[in-house]
Symmetry: C2
Subunit: 280 residues, 2 copies
């Protein structure tokens, strides 16, 4: 497995591979890898000759400096996991390598970023859009793999790929869960034993909310139910629970009978911000 820290080395290596006719699959990450990330690597390996994983904790997508500071960084074990999974190339640049100067260009995704994560993390999707554009232009993959745990991120990046005519395919991959239902996330490592034991309530609530909506409850009723649910677990601070159209992420008042419905949640638990979603 090749490990590169500079754009030039990465591009030199990958250009030679592409000239040799090899297809490139790409898994962009912020490191602190878990089984969920590795499943993306495995999907890429099945469909491409070369699999590239980037590890970069992108400062411009954090609206909260404390969250950025506390984001887990485990490069050595990440590389061990990637090597074991058969990843071919790791691109792990410094912030200075990615941003020799701060970008002047800002991305605005319109309605896609005035809801949920966009609403509660102002500037987040600008940071995501710019860094993913940079990574796409550096790696030039045929396919790029993203986990559906970040449902809104997948929607934003898909929109960006269409709007800018990026010549690649976005492959959304299912959320992986622990045995007790907790969505795998790098942030889970920041949970204490106590909060970790409570964390599965997020997915339990999503499952109950889905049942309610399927039984005809309105979005407002389901949201009230969620607020009630967390009254029993005061360690949680619910940020939002939104019921939305799966494609546009715009709020719906009832479960969508024509298309898919997404229930998306963000909650703080012991100071750690967790998100999850369920689609039906």
């Amino acid at each position: 497995m090749q490990i590169f820290n500079t754009i030039a080395e990465t591009q030199n290596y990958l250009k030679a591979q592409q000239k040799a006719g090899k297809t490139i699959g790409f898994v962009p990450t912020m490191g602190a890898l878990h089984t969920g990330h590795i499943s993306l690597i495995e999907s890429s390996k099945k469909e491409n000759a070369i699999t590239v994983c980037s590890i970069f904790v992108n400062p411009t997508q954090f609206n909260n400096p404390e969250d950025l500071k506390k984001y887990p960084r485990t490069l050595e074990t990440d590389c061990e996991m990637l090597a074991k999974a058969g990843c071919d190339v790791v691109f792990a640049p410094s912030a200075e390598e990615m941003y020799p100067s701060l970008p002047k260009l800002k991305f605005d995704f319109g309605t896609l970023e005035t809801v949920m994560e966009g609403k509660f993390r102002p500037g987040h999707f600008n940071g995501v859009g710019i860094v993913v554009s940079k990574l796409f232009n550096i790696v030039k993959p045929e396919k790029a793999y993203f986990g559906l745990k970040d449902l809104q991120q997948v929607a934003v990046i898909r929109q960006m790929v269409n709007d800018l005519s990026f010549d690649l395919e976005i492959i959304p991959c299912p959320t992986l869960r622990e045995a007790d239902g907790l969505a795998m996330s790098s942030r889970n490592t920041r949970l204490s034993a106590e909060t970790r034991a409570l964390a599965p309530h997020i997915y339990q609530l999503l499952t109950l909310a889905k049942e309610q909506l399927q039984s005809g409850a309105s979005a407002a009723e389901t949201q009230a139910f969620a607020t009630d649910y967390f009254r029993n677990y005061p360690a949680f601070e619910l940020e939002y629970l939104e019921i939305a159209n799966f494609d546009t992420l715009e709020p719906v008042t009832q479960a969508d009978t024509a298309g898919k419905t997404a229930i998306c949640i963000a909650a703080f638990l012991g100071g750690v911000r967790l998100i999850d979603n369920i689609v039906f």
Copy 2:
């Protein structure tokens, strides 16, 4: 010379060329070609194995629907000129091909677009940025050629290439002028015999303004001089004359002694909007 109307055909052809190790030079245009455009084609031919010219009157960069409607469209003679100049590929898509749906993503270039063209053509550089990104992602050139007549456009695109890590080089090329000094422009064809005879005053004024600044006049004095100058030629409606730092395009109060100074002008003449600049 190959002429393609679809993204798929263009990409198929160019990918085969790139696999064969050929470098691609790219000249994006809105058609209505003149000698200035052809000089960009010639520059590209010197430095690349394959030269691609796009012809697309991009609706999203026109803030004025009348200007869009009146923008000259001369595809047939454009293609004749390009064939004669030795251009290899023309990409001439329809608006529907480029925008199957309207982009949701918007670009904001910050201070670069609150001055001059950005100030007087709101949304213009968003339209330019999105379409040029699309074209770069479709053509994937090693080098792209832009005329310095659109000085602010060159600055915006250079910023975008840096900010999004596009893997290509922007080559700015000098403004070509008619014998009487008028900067070559597709819009010149819309001038009447009478206004065409007046049009060289734009460059004459720029030359005089440069002399004033070099003799120590302030930017404000030079701007007052410009307003006075056009009092003698009421056919002109001066939109702006700005004295700016060449790199940042931010206004300066005096000619820059450390770096380069740009004088940029936009004026309406008989309903036709003309721009020009001089750098020293």
